[in-house]
Symmetry: C2
Subunit: 420 residues, 2 copies
């Protein structure tokens, strides 16, 4: 008889209320029984500290190399693996030059994920968890990118899916969800309406076996964004940047990168260092950035407008935590209007070759704004997160992205257009 293969156990050991600190056993719960606050995954810090650089480096070229720091997926056969993660960290010298950087500027390009947004990270973790928790169908409320990713992952493993989106989404995001063959429900309303409906549905008998990745599986789901922090640290040679800029919709992703950096320091995977956190929103939906400017602890809900639809969450669940991450590190937040967003997309494309969706335009435009205002220091190494792909929001810039000339296929045509 041979010894059974030793499968490492999860470092997660509880669900912890982010509000009152109450602890609950790991499961499909997402709100605190004591105070109704949101729950997040708690870890055995000793288990986290046992993870070494060598463990990570010997793993697959995907988010699953960090399984020792994640709540699920320690057993490789349990993973819903779409090859997500280890997206390029691009040295953006030409962008840095235009913005007056003297320190290195980097773009973490998550449009390289399978469905071309960072949502593949959270969905890989959420569906892996949902399957372990016994759910038989997968669902989400989405501003578009999450819909694409949930439908694709479900198709890959043959699990039924039902995805809820605002009916007025960008056409590419509708098509990219519908093509996978799951159920796609367009809602006549905003994302916040969609989200409310999904919270109600999660309580119905009919949806008892349905895991909503960002409702009742949210504590697991949110942890996927930590890999955006781990990867940057590893790609920089196991150290942290001094500043990072991330877009904010619910505010979750920005806070999870901060959490990842803290874990890496605590576990000795990177040297102790300080970093500042910067948050980006669009002027059409800036509840968190407004709260930052006003000195509020909690954002006031707004009715979203504008072209950055993937960021259009008017009532951001993680707003207070994002505010805390930014304020506690001496960072800042800003918002930019639709014209600045378009200019941000073009600036990034023309200097790096990265074609970002509107959310990426928001982030680059906010980067520029914060450098100009002196709030972000161009002499400190900085990472900018591009979270989605320009092909998903082509309509937002198609007016300004036309051919230089349209001509007959002749040298004469070239000459008459001034091209020869």
């Amino acid at each position: 008889m041979t010894a059974a293969l030793q499968i490492p156990t999860s470092p997660a050991d509880a669900l912890v209320c982010r509000n009152c600190g109450a602890r609950f056993p790991l499961g499909a719960q997402h709100a605190c029984f004591e105070c109704f606050g949101p729950l997040e995954i708690g870890y055995d810090t000793e288990a986290l500290a046992r993870v070494t650089r060598a463990d990570v480096e010997s793993g697959p070229h995907s988010i699953w190399r960090y399984a020792g720091l994640l709540p699920v997926g320690q057993d490789a056969s349990s993973r819903v693996d779409s090859g997500t993660g280890m997206t390029p960290l691009i040295r953006a010298d030409r962008l840095g030059e235009q913005l007056g950087f003297t320190a290195p500027l980097w773009v973490k390009d998550d449009s390289a994920n399978p469905t071309h947004s960072f949502k593949d990270r959270v969905v890989s973790i959420a569906i892996t968890a949902a399957r372990e928790l016994g759910f038989e169908r997968i669902a989400c409320a989405s501003t578009g990118n999450l819909a694409n990713s949930v439908a694709a992952h479900a198709a890959r493993i043959g699990m039924p899916s039902i995805v809820f989106v605002p009916a007025d989404l960008e056409p590419a995001k509708i098509v990219q969800t519908a093509v996978y063959g799951g159920t796609l429900v367009g809602i006549q309303g905003s994302y916040d309406d969609v989200n409310r409906l999904c919270s109600e549905l999660a309580e119905t008998d009919e949806f008892e076996r349905t895991g909503f990745v960002n409702v009742n599986v949210r504590p697991y789901y949110a942890e996927g964004s930590k890999t955006l922090g781990y990867e940057v640290a590893e790609q920089l040679g196991w150290r942290l940047p001094g500043q990072y800029v991330a877009p904010m919709a619910s505010g979750s992703m920005l806070t999870k990168i901060h959490k990842a950096f803290k874990e890496l320091v605590a576990g000795g995977l990177v040297p102790q260092s300080s970093w500042r956190v910067f948050g980006a929103q669009s002027a059409g939906c800036a509840p968190i950035a407004t709260a930052f400017a006003q000195g509020w602890d909690v954002p006031q809900p707004v009715k979203p407008t504008g072209i950055a639809k993937s960021l259009n969450i008017g009532n951001p669940a993680d707003g207070p935590y994002a505010l805390d991450a930014v304020r506690s590190t001496g960072g800042a937040m800003a918002s930019v209007d639709d014209d600045e967003i378009r200019e941000g997309i073009r600036l990034l494309a023309r200097t790096t070759g990265v074609f970002a969706e509107t959310a990426g335009g928001v982030t680059v435009a906010v980067l520029r704004k914060l450098v100009r205002s002196g709030q972000l220091d161009p002499s400190v190494e900085t990472v900018v997160y591009n979270t989605g792909d320009g092909l998903k929001t082509v309509d937002a810039i198609s007016d300004g992205a036309r051919p230089t000339a349209v001509i007959p296929a002749t040298l004469k045509g070239m000459r008459e257009a001034g091209l020869l």
Copy 2:
């Protein structure tokens, strides 16, 4: 004094006429001075044979890990590196099941490249070569994906670009090229008209310092597709599949995968084995598949129609070589109509989570057709190449990819739509 760092030299040693075998020194030449035949890169086979698996495995996670088998880029600092390559090889069990496979079926998903098509491979090599050859501007004739990639790579390194495309391309491909800020010229005509114009322009004084990646830099450019073969072999654990299916536009890519497999065997990097090559075209532009069916050695030019625009080359330069690769291995070719292409896109998406552009729909639909006709053996391990992203051709399937229902954000709305 320390020893200078040893930079490996290129294994390429000549330009060789594919028609008459005449040899010329490496340079910007692309047609034979003797017979006007097309040139390709010739290698020092002993230099190729010195490359080991360990050399490759210790390299970067990109096409540049195969620099020892490529004509340029041996010196890492010379590379135009966009992080292209090492795209996922996805085990497609659910697709295989639907098609009756008893052997493993794999999808090599090149939509994961930076600009989401396999063209990033050939462009990385071509621009690296163009810079070494002294060109100061980069250009191409394109059916869309090449335009995206050339404009993006040029933007990244700050090199001027001028890109020529048929004016009736898919809107997403126009936007994705224009956003990078180079010159984009829409031509009133077919790709073959565009290509002819570029050949003329390459001979003008005004374009003397312009490298057309697929005209006067073509011998280098074409070699980039070999990495599609190398990667599959390495990802299978250093062995070759028994069958592969690739789409055909000019026919070049299919032949270069075959060339890569032969090199790997000759160099001892994989065990000797046999493989069969299969080629896919759309019914709207099937000059090579027609030549195969008719027993011709050379395709007759056609006027392209149909939704698979990235494959719409009516006068395919590498058609004879593609025919030879398929016939000499006992493979086959087939073509499929627009409805079959759309069904191919949906079938791939619903079983693997991979959203392919129309060219990928062609390949999957041809795979199905060849299995049904008995020409492709479902008991032999098979790799299917998806060369581009569905987000580039959303219009082709948007009619059949709509929400299941559009409803108000209420439980009543869910009930009335039969979803609760």
